[in-house]
Symmetry: C2
Subunit: 826 residues, 2 copies
């Protein structure tokens, strides 16, 4: 059965832009004339003028169609168990102005053609008056205005989220009684005391202190433990209940779905305002609950929601799914930009990872959007420091060439950890989907939160917020750092200078053990956390894993250099007793490596890390590690975590990066095969009743039109929706069932029966066709680059069948199962 | 006449990879079998297995074809008056292993299909032995190895060029007698004296001093002037003679041609080793001659030459034009990377400006290549400082929000200047092409060099090398700067501190006048310089213009703030007498603005400027200026300088950024029109003699094959080259002229005459087709995204005509002339 999951092509460049219909004079005759204009003129030279004339008389039926198409597509997107009509609840105003149904694939070429027509119309009208001139300027600027607004709002929302999350995180430990809305840092700033990180200032009261217990007594410890766990449970429970009740789509990181949406799939309500609101709130809650998750991935989702909502203000984008994706690409860039304070990295992320169709105009706008959002966030200054980045890192020493070896080693480890994580996480998510566990999401979240909180508290490194831990690990030990990790045997006489000697004290070894435990703990708990029904990003947990691993290796290298300064690799750079190894840099490189192993990002990851560290000096180490991680990861398991989740959820995503090494031809992929009858319409020999009964019998979304049943020469393609509307209209006008449906330009002969029904105006005369001998790679290339929904297969001009995006995906899946052996490196 | 400039498609995925033919067993029968395999099987299921079997028996004729095709294409590329066969001299070993002739367009789909076949072959052979396994690994790695080598060599060459140019630049002023191979800086380093820029150390002798005159006497000045002019003339003359004699392609910036080549055009010898050598040497000479040109654009060309030469070592890339362009894209990135020390900017430049077809895999490799080259250059350390960038800039103060206004003003100026420059330069270049001036390139260079040297010397700012001038303008005045521009009224008691007061002294005003003169002088002289027959980049002259302009505006703003500190825009940030405006930042922003106006680069330019200044703090000002420059520039003249030169030289470049707003259909563009006869071959009714005479009578590069003359249903497409070969072979084997040429799978009937000649094996059964009603935008999209050479136009399965890339370009040109009114902003 090929029909049920086929998305038929639209009649290209014909039905477009409902918005300007209001100004159309609405005369039916002229409308008809326009509809004929571009398509029907047999003389080629005149067609241009005529279709432009026709534009003035556009009519209203472009957007009113909404038929209950077969919803078998939903079977493909078993999205987190969300019922197929959940989106209706979430988008009460969701009037279907798009031409697509939920869970359908869009036709880029058609949408872009609609936009070009709209544009031409506006340009043409410009001469008619001042208002239309303004209108044209507004239209030309609306893209920029839209991304400007997206940038401003995304920056603002990110600032609020950052501030809120910080405050709630600190609330687990204590409170600022004088001003409860301040977090610990702000509370202590107002005190004018100098205080070191990890210490308390006199203004800030930990919960035991508030409750009257001694801060460092056993009772105080138990009380603090208790408060920590209870807070975590409360926040976690609240988060999952909010998600379950108001916005089921707000769970997860959102990046797999964003990738799918950007590739041209419709998921209604996924980028709606409820999702935005609930995800923003629950991100704060989930992060503050101490769960092993980050808010960076969800921020991309939140930014895309903002982009989607703001796009609705600009009909150019809001009413055209293909154009809207340009705004969404820019929003994704803004999301990463505010998540890390890395605008360039954000744009590259959007280009490399998220986006599918990324024209260069979009690149420039995305950059603008990312920059504005970063600028706004920077002005809000949620991190309370002068740097706009999440983790400001500053290393003094340059790295030495020999260190590339441990960096690459970290990369290899990162690749292994990434691949292991993906496998375990996918295994667990599949188990959740297939077992009864999936029916108790609230219980699951509460259980994981409880376990995380109970296990995290005793260890100081897992107790502190993840972002703070990363900060500690990334940075070198200053001379006054009080934590174990910095317990070096120092020359205390020169307190103000940089550390002179770096031999590790006992505290460092304790810290290393604790870090090792944190590493194992975070690895295990993240597997269970990612995929639960709360907003959960993977960037921060991956970075924690990598930074922990990197710091351990870094301290090891450091001590090696201290103890064997004369070994040839160190001898040129290191002098005895002086530190020549920056262990913080190893943490940075390790974080990049694990992130690379998990997400398989490349350029964008390196650029994000460079922007994070604020220095290009360490770009080579980061690049070496990311490269090693990518290669090792790809060798162990082909997909990154996002692609794995796309696959797991069955989204129709045709990867634009993958290369296919098969010798299939179009004929192997097309439907129908094996002599299944193929529903086609003939151009001048079927009656209205015959077409109507065919519409009833089949579920296809469109039908090819051929010269005759015998010859099968392809004439064009007609959409079920258009056909339905035209036939219903004709019936209303009293056209009898015996009338012939005529798709030819001029009636060819005399009609014995009633006058024929002229339907050429709904016929797409320019469907994309290929021959049956076309290699599958070329077919895939056409699907990806032209954004097709389907292509017709011909042989010597005769129609043989049809290939849809899902036919291609199914065939690829089939081939994949067939030969699992992979080429080692791409 | 459509035939003479049509590039016919190749038989896709059929003739491939000459390299592996050596291992083919070479049996003719099996070869035939393979050639039939993939294409001839009527049963679809079996085709895959069969074609893979057939792969083992590949034969040798894939690469030996070299027919003298009609060279009418050359008419389109009247490249700088270079004779059409110049490349032959320059590439003596240039055996034509590509399947394309000079000045032809490549067919991406076909080349990529060839590569996939080659890849499949290697993967399949892997099981047969250890050697083949190694081979496969080599194949998988060769892309990375290739870009690694390109990066290393490009970094090395750039280092040598930088060092050489610096030395020769200083040679205009004096010499280091103790070690003449040292430039001034190096000479003075060895002296251990502290010396300030612009001063002389005792080791360095200016020419007057060498010749015995007083350094600061009138005679000394005249002597220095004379030496300067003579040196400049000598170097300029040498440069132009070298270019004229050895490598005519080494002139200009090369970026327009690189863009054209990357878009899929063949210019033999343009990236050859002679071009590399001569361009590298002449870049140094031309820069040292004091001409108003830079070596940054030519460095991109040089890097691409390196990429091209190294690609030949890897048959995967060297023998496949489409794959080779992946390496060239990476090389272009490396070129910018070493030119500015900006690897990320380099990749974005390659993506945004240079490349046409840029898969994401290429992005990652380009980044690697750019990074390696920057790393190597950094290790060579040609600038003699710890920063790897060309102009290291460090500003102390943050910018204030109000300053966005002057920054945008600078952007507007930059756009105006850019548009004016492009117009004037194109006007002059067109004059050169059409007048007798073009016949005296040497005289022209000498004259411009003489004028430049004579006018540049008296003004200290135009006398110093451009890169030094930019450095001076970009940086703030330190407390000890001795030049006029830094003649502020200082509080000399606090020499070691930052400048306390910034009221300008008389020297500053003198300097501003001199800078204004430099601005006018450089603007005029660059118009005449760019386009001469020497290597000449535009980055540096544009930056000089912008930096001069920016610094003037900056000093103006600075004095405004000093004198009116209580004006509301300054009052929040500035206190009386203290400097709150960074005039150096204005120079940076101005440089970005003019560069943006001239090149119309966007993201890559901003990123390059950010990498240059080494700080993301000023990204917003730079972005604002670049954006304003781009918009104003686009409003004044649609094309950037590179596109304007592409247009001027008539290269067949289909811009991937532009949008077209016309309602043309495929039928308006296709050839033949107006009842011109269309040469087609029928599948089973033409004799060998008929085909031969058709080949003689026409110049087309290929012919569509149809079912019959009457029905014109399209079967496939056959290349002239393949047909020639097959017929010649058949004639050699004694096939008579009366034999039928048979393109069908199975003979359909009895033959009365001699046995027919089976030609289906050379038939491409999967040509790309469109219908006559396809909108031109869709056609252009297909050309751009699929990299087509041509597409066949059908109507109801019948062949109507053909559209080539050049038909599309001609049509667009035609429409452009027709309606010149443009939309204000894209």
């Amino acid at each position: 059965m090929y029909g049920s999951h086929v998305h038929w092509a639209a009649a290209r460049a014909r039905r477009f832009y409902g918005q300007i219909t209001e100004e159309g004079d609405g005369e039916d005759s002229e409308t008809e004339d326009w509809r004929l204009g571009d398509k029907q003129s047999p003389e080629r030279g005149a067609s241009r003028r005529r279709s432009e004339d026709g534009l003035a008389g556009m009519s209203t039926d472009g957007t009113v169609l909404e038929h209950a198409l077969p919803e078998s597509d939903r079977g493909l997107a078993q999205h987190h168990g969300v019922p197929g009509n959940a989106s209706v609840e979430m988008e009460p105003e969701g009037e279907p102005f798009g031409q697509y149904d939920d869970f359908h694939t869009i036709d880029w070429q058609r949408d872009l053609a609609r936009d070009r027509m709209r544009h031409r119309y506006i340009v043409k009208k410009r001469q008619t008056g001042f208002f239309d001139l303004v209108r044209q300027f507004h239209d030309a600027w609306s893209g920029w205005l839209c991304v400007l607004l997206v940038g401003i709002v995304a920056g603002g929302v990110a600032g609020v989220i950052d501030i809120g999350a910080r405050w709630m995180e600190d609330m687990r430990f204590g409170i600022c009684p004088e001003a409860f809305w301040l977090n610990k840092d702000q509370c202590c700033w107002s005190s004018n005391e100098t205080f070191f990180e990890g210490d308390n200032c006199s203004q800030w009261y930990s919960w035991p202190e508030v409750l009257g217990a001694q801060h460092d007594s056993a009772g105080g410890y138990v009380l603090a433990y208790l408060c920590y766990v209870v807070w975590a449970l409360l926040l976690g429970l609240l988060a999952v209940r909010l998600v379950r009740t108001f916005a089921p789509y707000a769970c997860g990181s959102g990046i797999p779905e964003i990738k799918t949406i950007l590739s041209g799939f419709i998921i209604r309500g996924y980028l709606g305002k409820w999702t935005l609101l609930i995800k923003s709130v629950c991100m704060m809650l989930a992060v503050s609950a101490g769960l092993s998750l980050g808010k960076e991935g969800p921020l991309v989702h939140v930014a895309c929601c903002i982009g989607n909502i703001i796009a609705y203000m600009f009909p150019k984008y809001g009413r055209n799914e293909a154009k809207k994706r340009e705004i969404l690409s820019a929003s994704a860039a803004a999301g990463v930009s505010v998540a890390f304070g890395a605008p360039i990295g954000g744009v590259l992320f959007s280009l490399e990872e998220a986006s599918y169709y990324f024209p260069l105009k979009t690149l420039w706008r995305s950059f603008f959007c990312a920059l504005i959002s970063a600028f706004i966030l920077n002005s809000i200054n949620p991190f309370g420091n002068e740097h706009s980045v999440l983790f400001y890192v500053h290393h003094e020493r340059p790295w030495i060439f020999f260190e590339l070896l441990p960096f690459i080693f970290l990369g290899v480890l990162g690749g292994v950890i990434g691949a292991a994580f993906i496998r375990s996480n996918i295994f667990w998510c599949r188990f959740r989907k297939t077992s009864r566990l999936g029916q108790y999401p609230t219980t699951e979240v509460v259980a994981v939160t409880l376990a995380t909180a109970l296990l995290a508290f005793p260890n100081p490194y897992s107790r502190m917020p993840s972002s703070e831990l990363i900060n500690v690990l990334f940075n070198d030990c200053g001379p006054s750092e009080g934590i174990d990790l910095c317990d070096y045997k120092r020359n205390f006489s020169s307190m103000s200078q940089a550390i002179e000697t770096s031999e590790a004290g006992p505290g460092v070894y304790t810290a290393l053990w604790q870090l090792a435990i944190v590493f194992v703990f975070k690895f295990l708990v993240t597997i269970f956390t990612f995929g639960m029904k709360i907003p959960a990003g993977l960037f921060i947990p991956s970075m924690v894993l990598g930074a922990t691993m990197g710091r351990i290796v870094g301290v090891g290298m450091e001590q090696l250099a201290i103890n064997y300064p004369n070994w040839w690799v160190f001898s040129s750079e290191c002098t005895a007793g002086e530190n020549c190894i920056t262990s913080g840099l190893y943490a940075t490189v390790g974080a990049a490596a694990v992130l690379g192993g998990v997400t398989r990002m490349t350029v964008s990851l390196v650029v994000i890390m460079v922007e994070l560290t604020g220095s290009v000096s360490y770009i080579v180490p980061v690049m070496a590690a990311v490269m090693a991680a990518k290669w090792v990861g790809d060798a162990l398991g082909r997909e990154g975590i996002y692609d794995a989740h796309i696959y797991l959820n069955g989204y129709p995503f045709l990867d634009s990066k993958e290369e296919f090494d098969h010798t299939s031809l179009a004929a192997d992929v097309m439907e129908p095969r094996n002599n299944v009858p193929f529903s086609v319409i003939t151009q001048n020999s079927m009656t209205v009743s015959e077409v109507e009964s065919m519409l009833k019998e089949t579920e296809h979304n469109g039908f090819p039109v051929v010269v005759s049943k015998e010859s099968q020469y392809l004439v064009g393609f007609v959409l079920r929706r258009d056909l339905n509307l035209a036939l219903a209209g004709a019936r209303r006008d009293g056209v009898p069932g015996q009338s012939l449906c005529l798709f030819t330009a001029v009636p060819t002969g005399q009609w014995s029966g009633p006058p024929p029904l002229q339907l050429r105006r709904i016929l797409d005369l320019a469907p994309i066709t290929i021959t049956d001998q076309t290699p599958l790679e070329t077919v895939i290339d056409m699907f990806r680059k032209l954004g097709l929904r389907q292509t017709l297969v011909t042989h010597n001009g005769r129609l043989l069948g049809i290939i849809t995006k899902k036919d291609v995906l199914r065939h690829l899946k089939h081939l994949e199962v067939e030969d699992l052996e992979q080429v080692p490196f791409h």
